[in-house]
Symmetry: C2
Subunit: 338 residues, 2 copies
Amino acid sequence: MATTPKRRLPVMADVAKEAGVSHQTVSRVLNDHPNVRADTRARVEEAISRLGYRRNLVARALVTKRSRMLGVVSFDTTLYGPASTIYGIEQAARTAGYFVSIVSLKSLDATSVRAAIDYLTEQGVDGVVVVAPQRSAGRALESLPSGTPAVAVEGTHRADVSVVCIDQFEGARLATRHLLDLGHETVWHVSGPPDWLETEGRLAGWRTTLEAAGRPVPPPLPGDWSPRTGYEAGRRLAAMDEVTAVFAANDQMALGVLRALSEEGVKVPDRMSVVGFDDIPESEFFSPPLTTVRQDFDAVGRRCIEALLRQIDSGPVAYERLVVPPAFIVRSSTAPAR
Amino acid sequence: MATTPKRRLPVMADVAKEAGVSHQTVSRVLNDHPNVRADTRARVEEAISRLGYRRNLVARALVTKRSRMLGVVSFDTTLYGPASTIYGIEQAARTAGYFVSIVSLKSLDATSVRAAIDYLTEQGVDGVVVVAPQRSAGRALESLPSGTPAVAVEGTHRADVSVVCIDQFEGARLATRHLLDLGHETVWHVSGPPDWLETEGRLAGWRTTLEAAGRPVPPPLPGDWSPRTGYEAGRRLAAMDEVTAVFAANDQMALGVLRALSEEGVKVPDRMSVVGFDDIPESEFFSPPLTTVRQDFDAVGRRCIEALLRQIDSGPVAYERLVVPPAFIVRSSTAPAR
DNA sequence: CTGTTAGCGCATTCAC
DNA sequence: GTGAATGCGCTAACAG
C-alpha cells in the first residue's frame, strides 16, 4: 500500500543522540533556558542543523496547552475593509509570534459564527478575533465559552469581550459637517445594508449632525455596499433638483453614484458634491477624485492583537473598547453650494 | 500566582466515565467507526453534549500526524487578486475539512518565502499553497523539503510542485485582438512591475498578438499595479496624438489611465479605447465602464485545494499544470477606431 | 462490539 | 549544569 518509504523526520531524541546529550538538554537550548553550558549549547545547535531538525509545535502545544495560534472569523474577505483588517491582524500576530487561522464566512448569521468559533476552539487556538460588523454576529459572540480570550471588531456588547472599532459616528459627522460648511442646505445619504454596525454608526452620525444644525433630514437611500446600489441611488438623486450634496456610506457606492450622475449629465462637484467612506486605493482616481473618510485598518488590526494578547497573558481583563479615529480626506468631488 | 481556579475542560476520559464506557469507545463514536452499538453510541453522544465536550484536535494531530491544516503564503492580501484567491482557497479547504493558516508577506523575496514555509512546516501543516506570482518567490519554492505537498499559484517550474494559474497570455491576446478587430492600428500597453509572472504573461500575449498581425510594437509603459502609475502612463499617452488604443495590465492602472485621459480632455472611447485586466467589482462603474479580462479566482482556489489534497492523500504525484481560462468582458471603454 | 495497552514528541517536575 | 521519569489527550493496534 505505502509506496513511499517515507523517511521519518528527525525528532528531539535524534538530535540528542547526535549531540551526545539527553533530549532534555535539547529542549533547553530550543527554549533558551539559562542553565546550559555554552559548549553544550553549541554542540546541540550543530546537531540540529546537521540533521535539519525542526521542532514539532503540535507536540509542544499538547503539553504547554498553548498553540500560539489565533483564530480569525470574518465576513467576505474579498471586501477592502475586512481584507485590510485581516492583513493588519496577521502582521501584528506574526510579529508577536503567533499564527493566524482564518475562517471566512459567506453569511454572518449567529449559527455560522458560532460554528466557526467552535471549529477554531477545537483546533486549539489561544484566542479569537471576530471581524463581525453585523448585529447578528455580535449575538453569536454572546454564546462564546466564557474564558476564551476574544476580541471583536465593530460589535457586541458582552461585558467580557473587548471591542476594537473605528469611530463611525465621528467619520459620518466629519463628512456631513464638511458638506454643510460648504454651504449645502442639507445632505442626502446612501446607507449601507441594515444590521451592520457601520451602517448604523454612519447613519447616526449623519442624522445627528443634520439635526444639530437644524437642517431637514431626507430619507436615506438604502444600499448594500456594492457599486450597483450606489448607481441606483445616484439615478434617483439625479432626478431630484433640490439635491446638492450626497454622503455615501462607502467608496464603492460613491463610485456608483458618480457613474449615475455622469450618465445623467449632473456635474460633480459643480452641481452636486459627493463624499464617500473608506478611502480605498482607487478613490483618488475616480472622476472626480473622491473626498472621503479614511479608516486606519492597520491600527485596528494592531489593537486587536494587543487586546487579545493582554487577555491571553494575564487572564480575563476588564472589558475594553478601543476606538480608532478616522481621518477626513478632501479631494475634488466636493465644492461650495451654488 | 494563579488567580483563576480555571476549571479544566472535559477530556475524552471524562466523557467515558460519564457514559460508563472506555475512552476508546468515545473515540470510536467521534470518528464514526462502524463497530459501535446504536445505544452505546447514543449514551456517549448524550454524555458529550451534557459535558459540553469538544475534542482536542492538537492531541489528535500528534498521533495521526495529520493536522488537517493547510498553510498559505501570499503577498499583500489587500490586493484584489490575492484576496480573492485566498478566499477561494479557504472556502474549498473548509469544505474539504481543512483549516487554513495564512502568512502574508510584505515582500516576496526568496528568504521571506522560505522562512514562511519553514514556519508553517514547524507548525505541522499538511500542505502548503504559495500564492507566488513573482519569479523570486518561485525560486524559494525550489528549496522546499521534497515530499511536502505543495501547490503554487502562478509560478515555479520545479518538477514536483504543481501549478495552478490563469492563462495570462490568452487574456492579453483577447484584449489586444479585440482592439485590433475594432480597427486600431496598434495597441499600447501599460505593464505590471518586473519580476511578476502576470506581467510577463500579459506582456508576451500582447506583443505576440501585435507581431502576428504585423503591427508595430510600441514600447510598454511601466507600472506597478497602482492607479497612480496608470495615471502617469495616461498623461504620457494623452500627449501622443497617434495613440488610439491602450491595454492596461490591470483594472486599477486602467482607472488611472482613464483619470488622466479625462483630465486631458481625451474622450474615451471616442478618441481612445482602454482595456483593463481583472474585472474588479468597481470596473463596471468606471467612467466609462471598463472593458476588461475577467479572472476566475474562485476556480483557482478550488483547483489549488484539489491538487493539494491529491498529493496529501496519495503521495507525490506527477507534476501538474492547471490552467484556468480567462473571460473577456466588453463594456463601454472600447470603440472602433476613428 | 468493546476494553486494554502503547505510544505520538515534547516540556515539566524532580533528582543528581 | 544535566539526566531520568511522567504525562498532555488522543488514536492505533491488539485482545477478549
